[in-house]
Amino acid sequence: MKRLVAATCCLLVLSGCSRPHERSDLSVGKDAARTSEVNRVFERYRLVRNAAIKLLDPRPLSTVESDAVLDIDSGSFEVSQRLAQKQKQDTSAIDVTKVVTPHFSKYPLWFLAVVRDRAKGVNRIQIFERAQAADPWLLVASPETVAEIDLPELRSSGSKVTPVSPDNGKGMAMSAQAAATAYATTLGDANAPEADTVVNDSFIRQMRAAAEASTGLTGVKFAQRWTAEDVRFVLRTADGGALAFVTLLRYDTYEVKAGLTVSWPEGTPQQAFLSTGISDSGTLQYKHQVLLHLPGGNDKPRAIGQYGGVVGAVNE
C-alpha cells in the first residue's frame, strides 16, 4: 500500500513539476527592481559620482541623479569650484541596509534604499527613479536622518510595500501633499494657521533661527519664502500613516540700503555664490529635501530627515 501511495505521489509530482500551464492572474505589473539590479544601480551611481567629484564637474552626475538631488549636488560642486576646494570621494564600502521595491503597473518605477554613512553618522534614505523604460535609474531624493533614528516601519503585503497617492489622506490627519504645503507655509510664516497642523520640529526651529539672524541685520530688509514641490514618493507605514519625500524651495531675499553690503564668511556656500556680497538686492535659492512622517490617526506630521543646500543666487 505504501508503495502504491509513493508511486502515485511520484507520478503526480513528476507530472506537476515544471508543467506548462496558463497563468490565472494576467494582471500587468512588476517589482520596481530586483536585488541584482539594485546592486548594479548603486555600483554605477558611486562610480559616476566619484568621477564627477574628481573632476568637480556636475555634468556626469546628470546620468545618475535628477531633480533636487542633482540641483543640490551641482550647487555644492559649484561652491567647491569657486572656493577652489576639493570634495572627498566615496571609497568606502556601500552599506545598503534596506531596499524597498514597490510593485508598479506602469512607469515611472522607483525604489527606496537606506544607505548608512558611518563617517557622518547618518542614514541616507534614497529614492531611485526610472521615469521611462529607456531611461536609466536616477537618484531623485536623498534626505538624511541621524543614525540613531529608525525609519517608521513600512506596511507591506508579502514582500511588496504599498505606495500611496500623494493626495490620499485616508487614515491620517492630512494627505502627503497637504502636509508638504502646510509644512512649507509654516516655515514661511510661524503665525500661519497651518503652523498648528504640523509639529514644530528641529528643522523648522533651525530654519527660523537662520531667518531671524538675517532679519536682524541693520539696514537690510530680509524676506524668506518657502514653497513645496509636488509630492511624488509616498509609502504607507505600518501605523496607517505615510512616509513622504517632500522637496521644499526656499528663497532668501535681501534688500540692502544704499551704501551697505551684505556679505558672508569665507568658505560658505553663500559666499561662493555671492562673492561680492549684496549691495542692492539679491536672492539666494535653496532646495531642501525633507522626509515627512505622517502618523496614522490625527497626529501631526513632522520631519525626521532632510538634505539641502544653496542651488543658485541672483544678485541685482
Binding site: M1, R3, K30, Y107, A133
Partner: protein, 398 residues
C-alpha cells in the same frame, strides 16, 4: 479493496503512459514542437505582443526572427510594463491575440517612426538577442506578464520579416519517456495486485528472493509457495548471506552475543517449516510452525501418525550424537542401527522458554599434600590424612 486499488492504478498508469507517449511523439527527441517560418506583413520597425497575449508559464519557447538583406534585427522578451512603456509611443504592429501553433491577430498602432532608444542598450529584457539577418532567443516563460518584441535596429525596418517559433518542455522527451515507463510500471503493478501476489509485504529490496522451505519430521526439506507458507506459523527466521556465485556465506557467530532463544533449535515434536531468503547479497529465512487448523501434508502426516502410535501424545525424537558431540535428528528406523544410551523426556508446552537458570559455582575443592623429607609434595586423600600431622593450612589467594 485491493482489486479496486489495482483498477485505479491501472487507470493512472494508462493515463501516465498515454501522456508520456503523446509527449514523446509531439516533442520528439529535441523536446520541441516547431512551426514556421511564417511571414509577417509589416514595413514598420516594431512587432510587439500586447500584454496578456502570452499567458503561459514554464513553457520553453524559441523565437527566430529573420529579415532579408542582412538587416539588423532584435528579438526580446520583457515584462509587459517595460515593453509597453518602451514602445508605447512608437508605430508598431501589435499582436492582440495568438493561438498555437500559429494563428496571430494583429492591429496596426500609429505612433512615432522611431524607438526612444536602442533596444540593445536596455537592461530590463529577460532575454534578448540581436543580429544581422536574424536573431533568436530561447527562454522559459516566467510567472509574470511578458511581451515579445521584434524590433528593427538602426534605420532599417522589418519588411520581409519571417518568424519561426518552437514550443517545448525542458527535458520534455525524457519526461515523456519517464511518464511512459511510470505508466507501464503502474499497469504491471496493478496486474500483480489483481493476481493476489503479495507485492507489498517485503520491503527489504527488490534483489531479495524468498524461499519457503517446509522440513518434515524426517528432516527432509520441501520447497513451498508463499501462499502455502501463509498457512503456517513462523517458527524461525534465518538470514542467509549468499555471495555473487550463489553460495551461502558462512556466518560467523559473534562470541559475545547472548544465546538467542528464538533462533535455538526447539525440541518440539512438531512438524516444522523453514524458509530461506536466497539473495545475491543477503537473505532472510523463516521457520514456520504449523497452525493447529491445518492438515499436514502426506509425509508429515505419516510421521505424525507413527509418532502418535508410539506414545499417545508424546512423540519421540531420536538423536544421534557423533564423536564431536554434535546432535543429529534421525528417524526411528535409523535409530535402530545405533546403541541406545539415554532417554530424555522433554516437556513441550506453548509457554515461552524459561530463562536459563544460573549455573551453580563449583564447590571449593580441598587438596591435601604430604611433604616428605626431600621436600617433595605428595597429594594424599582425606582418608590418608589421619596418618599425618597438619602443619599448615593455606587458603586460595587470588
Amino acid at each position: 479493496m485491493r482489486t479496486r486499488l489495482s483498477w485505479v492504478l491501472t487507470g493512472l498508469g494508462a493515463l501516465s503512459a498515454v501522456a508520456g507517449l503523446a509527449l514523446i511523439l509531439i516533442l520528439g527527441p529535441d523536446g520541441r514542437f516547431s512551426t514556421g517560418p511564417h511571414s509577417v506583413e509589416t514595413d514598420g520597425i516594431a512587432v510587439v505582443t500586447a500584454p496578456k497575449v502570452i499567458s503561459w508559464v514554464d513553457l520553453q519557447i524559441d523565437v527566430l526572427a529573420e529579415v532579408p538583406a542582412q538587416k539588423p534585427v532584435f528579438v526580446g522578451i520583457g515584462n509587459s510594463v517595460d515593453v509597453e512603456n518602451y514602445v508605447g509611443e512608437t508605430a508598431r504592429l501589435e499582436v492582440t491575440g495568438f493561438h498555437t501553433p500559429w494563428k496571430p491577430k494583429t492591429r496596426q498602432v500609429e505612433g512615432r517612426p522611431g524607438l526612444p532608444g536602442a533596444p540593445t542598450a536596455l537592461d530590463w529584457w529577460r532575454t534578448a538577442s540581436a543580429g544581422r539577418g536574424g536573431a533568436t532567443i530561447s527562454t522559459n516563460l516566467p510567472d509574470e506578464t511578458v511581451s515579445l518584441a521584434i524590433l528593427s535596429v538602426g534605420d532599417s525596418n522589418l519588411s520581409g520579416l519571417k518568424v519561426s517559433i518552437a514550443y517545448g518542455l525542458k527535458g520534455g522527451f525524457f519526461k515523456g519517456l519517464g511518464l511512459l515507463m511510470l505508466g507501464a510500471g503502474a499497469i504491471l503493478l496493478s496486474r500483480l495486485m489483481r493476481r493476489g501476489e503479495d507485492i507489498w509485504a517485503h520491503d527489504e529490496g527488490d534483489d531479495e528472493d524468498v524461499l519457503y522451505v517446509f522440513i518434515d519430521d524426517d528432516g527432509v526439506e520441501h520447497e513451498i509457495s508463499a501462499e502455502e507458507a501463509e498457512d503456517y506459523e513462523v517458527v524461525e527466521v534465518e538470514e542467509v548471506v549468499v555471495d555473487e556465485a550463489g553460495e551461502v556465506a558462512d556466518e560467523q557467530p559473534d562470541p559475545d552475543d547472548e544465546p538467542d532463544a528464538a533462533a535455538a533449535p526447539e525440541p518440539k515434536p512438531t512438524s516444522r517449516f523453514a524458509s530461506r531468503l536466497n539473495a545475491l547479497k543477503s537473505s532472510v529465512g523463516s521457520t514456520f510452525e504449523r497452525k493447529p487448523k491445518l492438515e499436514p501434508d502426506a509425509a508429515a502426516a505419516a510421521a505424525a501418525a507413527a509418532a502418535a502410535a508410539a506414545s499417545d501424545d508424546e512423540e519421540l525424537v531420536y538423536l544421534f550424537v557423533d564423536e564431536h558431540g554434535v546432535e543429529h535428528e534421525i528417524s526411528a528406523d535409523e535409530a535402530e542401527k545405533y546403541e541406545f544410551i539415554d532417554e530424555v523426556v522433554v516437556e513441550v508446552d506453548d509457554e515461552p522458554d524459561e530463562p536459563p537458570a544460573p549455573v551453580p559455582a563449583p564447590e571449593e575443592r580441598v587438596m591435601y599434600v604430604f611433604v616428605d623429607e626431600d621436600g617433595v609434595e605428595h597429594e594424599v586423600s582425606e582418608d590418608e590424612l589421619a596418618d599425618f600431622e597438619v602443619i599448615d593450612e593455606e587458603g586460595d589467594k587470588p
